[in-house]
Structures are given as C-alpha cells and as structure tokens.
C-alpha cells in the first residue's frame, strides 16, 4: 500500500457529473460513511463515521471516485505528517524528505499520480505547506466558503477544507464542487453558490498589482527567496506589476495563532473520552481516572502538547494575558491585510520559508516547528483565501509561491496563479 494513504478503499460517485472519471484522495479527518476516519490518531483508529461530510456528498454527486483516506499529522497538528499514529509519508518528489503537513498524504497522492485530485484541511497552512513541499497546487478558501460539516474539528474558527491538483485549473474545478452554503454549517456563506472558479484559470495577469510584504521574505532560506522572486519575475514578464507593502502586525501572528488554535483544540478534543467512540483504556477507578488513561493512550505527543498549552492559556488567571491578547493580534492582522489589499490586488510570498525538511529532522523542537508556519498562519487569522502554486526548485527541492487575496477573491487568485501552473 502507498504510504500516502491510511485506508485505500474506493467510494464510487454518480456516473455523470463534472468530476466523472476523476479520482480524489480525501484527508482522513473528513468523515466518510462506512469508511474508517482516523484523523491519523490511535484514538480513532477504528472509528467508522455513520454519515458523510458535506464535501464528500458533493464529491459523489459530482461523479468523482474517492480512492482512499490520506495520511496526516495527528488531528492536523503538525507540518510534516510525521505525528501520524500510522507512520510517516515520504515526499514522492524529494526522496528522504517530508511531504509537509498536516495534509501530507493528500499532497503526496496527487504528486505521485495516485489520485487526480485531493482534499485537505487548512487550519494554519495544512493545505498550502504540503502543496509547496510536494510541488502541487493547493487552495485555502476564504473562511465560510466551504462547509466544515463532517470535518473533525481541531480549531474551528481557523480551518477550511481545501483542494489539491496538479494544475490550478484542476484544483479550481474541485473547489467549484465543494464550495457553497450548507444548512449544516452555519458559518458558510452564499458567495460560493453556483461558482465558476475553473473558468477563471486563464493565466491572464495583465495589469495585476502584486503586493510583496517584506516581512514574509525576511529570514527565509536564500534559495527559497530566489526561486520565489524568479516566479514573481515571470508574472511581471506577463504584464503584472509588483510593489512592496508592509504588514507590521505579522511578527505576532505565529504566537497569536498558537494561542487561539491550542485553546480551541483543548475544547474540541475534550469530546474524546472513550465512551461514545474511539479508543478506551482498560482502566480501574472512577471516570476521571478512566478518561485520563484513555486520553494518555489515545493521543500522541504533539496532540497532548497542544491540548495542554490550550488548557493553560484558558485557565483561570491566564485568559486575559494570552487568549484576549491573541484576539487583539488577530484583529490587527486582519486590519493590516485589509490595508495592504487596498494597495494591491493580491499579495505574494514564499509559501514556506524553507525547503522540505528531512524525515525525522524536526520532531525535537516544537517551537522551531511552529515558527516555520510564519507565512501561512496569518492568512487563517484573517479568514482570507490563499493559494500555493509551484514556483520552481532550489537544489532540486520544490518551492511554493503563496498568493493571498481579499475575502471571497478566489477567482482573482486562480487567475493569477494559473499563469504559473
């Protein structure tokens, strides 16, 4: 079995539809009726959802064939897919390296040709990071564009389900299928109803203004910066114009993101008690003792770390110091993006400040790993759409260019990115 998948099982869709004849790999935190959905965790190793996520119903309706459930960092917590209970996935285009995360299996399946398309989820970069590391296209939609019904929650104020494809047009066609309002997710909006994103992949960037936030290039690997600048040069050759912009709030984004994401995780993952579903420890004693053992055995190290950090940040006496401050930072980041997007049509940066890590390289130092998310998390804080498109290579390793647009500006992003892939 391919190491991109946790479960390889075919789910056939309708015979006809916009995705008829196309195969789609689905991240294993998206519920599939009758097909186990593990979230990459021992906790849910045997969990079989009784219902489909809205995006899965829409895939079937569109005629797609689901080919399996893909490997991921446990509950979406990681940037390498190495925190999965089911073992790592190797990067198919960079042997010995990670595919990125947390949707690493989905990006790897597309890069290796094991699926035409894939779905991932992006809470702080989990679609864009693996897209960049595997040399494919990944889209993080505007918050509210795609239904989260049936997505196992990690940090629900930040996350969206998003598509992968080999080309921008492919990813956009999948976005057309999954976008749109849903009664079962009250945070969805109507902007994606009757969308035609695939039609926007014209590659026409004549007259497009691209803002280049200096802060998102500082501290990035030299080869990554060069490759990103070269891709921007290509867009300029096709008639786009670049200008420097500034996002002063950005230096606090990673910290704000981790306070908010871990706080939400500590609450969302409280549901795993081994009573209604999931792993259950053979434990003596009262319910507190049983829950403590079940959760010790069921969760991996990174998940425990984040639940505990979130519990700490929300505990008595610390809420104002961490959580309230992080919400201020979130509002500030939003304002900054709004101003920058008044000066430019889209913003551009390296998706990841570094090329793909070596397998096993990065598990020891959590803070260093969190800082690698510097360019992707601000977008989730601001609820904005972004796309990662292959920019080229540095020393034979893939580099992604990230383009960020205004809320519900997916068509503009797709038009711009399609000039490159």
């Amino acid at each position: 079995m391919s190491d991109a998948f946790i479960t390889e099982e075919r789910i056939e869709g309708r015979d006809e539809g916009p995705l008829a004849g196309r195969t789609v790999a689905v991240k294993d935190n998206i519920s599939t009726a009758g097909v186990r959905t593990t979230c990459g965790s021992r906790m849910l190793a045997e969990y079989v959802p009784p219902y489909d996520a809205t995006v899965v119903s829409r895939l079937k309706e569109a005629g797609a064939t689901v080919v399996g459930k893909t490997n991921m960092d446990e509950f979406g917590m990681g940037s390498t897919t190495e925190t999965s209970h089911f073992g790592p996935t190797e990067n198919p285009v960079a042997p010995g390296r990670v595919p990125g995360g947390s949707s690493g299996g989905s990006a790897a399946a597309v890069a290796a040709g094991e699926a035409d398309l894939a779905l991932g989820s992006d809470t702080g970069g989990s679609v864009r990071c693996p897209a960049a590391f595997c040399g494919v296209v990944g889209i993080k939609p505007t918050y509210g564009l795609v239904s989260r019904y049936g997505l196992v929650a990690y940090a629900n104020s930040l996350e969206q389900i998003g598509p992968f494809g080999e080309t921008v047009a492919d990813a956009a066609a999948l976005l057309d299928v999954i976008a749109g309002s849903d009664d079962r997710d009250a945070t969805t909006r109507t902007e994606g109803d009757d969308s035609s994103y695939a039609d926007a992949a014209t590659g026409d960037v004549e007259g497009l203004t691209i803002g280049v936030p200096t802060e998102l290039f500082e501290g990035a690997d030299e080869g990554v910066v060069e490759t990103t600048r070269a891709a921007l040069g290509e867009l300029e050759d096709r008639g786009a114009e670049t200008r420097e912009v500034s996002l002063p709030s950005i230096e606090h984004a990673v910290e704000a993101y981790y306070v908010i994401a871990t706080s939400e995780a500590s609450s969302n993952l409280a549901r795993f008690d081994g009573v209604r579903y999931g792993h259950s420890a053979e434990a003596e004693g009262n319910w507190n003792e049983a829950f403590g053992r079940t959760r010790e055995e069921g969760f991996g190290e990174e998940v425990k770390r984040r639940i505990l950090l979130g519990t700490y940040a929300l505990s008595a006496g610390y809420h104002d110091k961490y959580y309230a401050k992080a919400q201020d930072a979130r509002a500030w980041v939003k304002q900054d993006f709004d101003s920058a997007l008044e000066e430019a049509d889209v913003l551009a940066s390296p998706t990841m400040p570094v090329p793909p890590f070596e397998l096993g390289e990065s598990l020891d130092d959590p803070l260093q790993m969190y800082l690698a998310d510097a360019n992707t998390v601000p977008v989730n804080l601001a609820d904005l759409p972004a796309i990662s498109v292959p920019a080229g290579e540095t020393d034979g390793l893939p580099v992604g260019l990230q383009l960020i647009g205004p809320a519900f500006g997916e068509r503009r992003l797709i038009r711009a990115a399609s000039a490159l892939a």
Binding site: V48, V254, F291
Partner: protein
C-alpha cells in the same frame, strides 16, 4: 529562561484539568518546552488594543423536528453499550 518559567507542578495541574495522564518523562519534557513556548506567547503583550469590528449576524432556522441518527447507528462506535445506551465508567 525567565522568572515565569513553568514548573512541573503546573504541567501536572494542567494535565489533570485536561484529563490526560502523563508519564514522568513527559512532564519533564513539557516543562522545558512550555517555558520556551509561553515566553514566546508573552510577546503578545506588545500588541496594542485593537478595535474588533467583527461584522457578525446570527444564523437562524425554523425550529422543526427532523429524524435524528438512529439509535443503533449512534451506538455502533461505542466501546461498551447496555440496553441501547452508552456505558461509561463509574462516576465515583
């Protein structure tokens, strides 16, 4: 590390709040890491107070009954059931 460095007792306390048992070596590792991570979180003190102009509206729907998930299906993933109910650990 700063004066506010996290103590092993605090890590144990938070783990108890979160209902996650920890091994001694986990307590030790988390104590060091949390000191570093929380020191990074402290930089949020530099963030100015910001007007949060969230443009939010409530989403309402008619209060109509609809078929729920069947009991049998709801119990399918439960490690233990009894007479059509979930069976949990003893309360005390």
């Amino acid at each position: 590390m700063s004066d506010d460095a996290v103590s092993p007792e605090e890590v144990r306390h938070v783990a108890e709040l979160a209902r996650i048992d920890l091994a001694e070596d986990e307590v030790e590792a988390f104590t060091g890491q949390f000191g570093e991570i929380l020191a990074a979180f402290e930089t949020l003190d530099e963030v100015p107070e910001v007007d949060r102009e969230a443009d939010l509206t409530n989403v309402m729907r008619p209060d109509e009954s609809r078929d729920p998930l069947e009991r049998e299906r709801a119990l399918e993933n439960a490690p233990e059931t009894e007479e059509g109910y979930f069976k949990g650990p003893n309360v005390s």
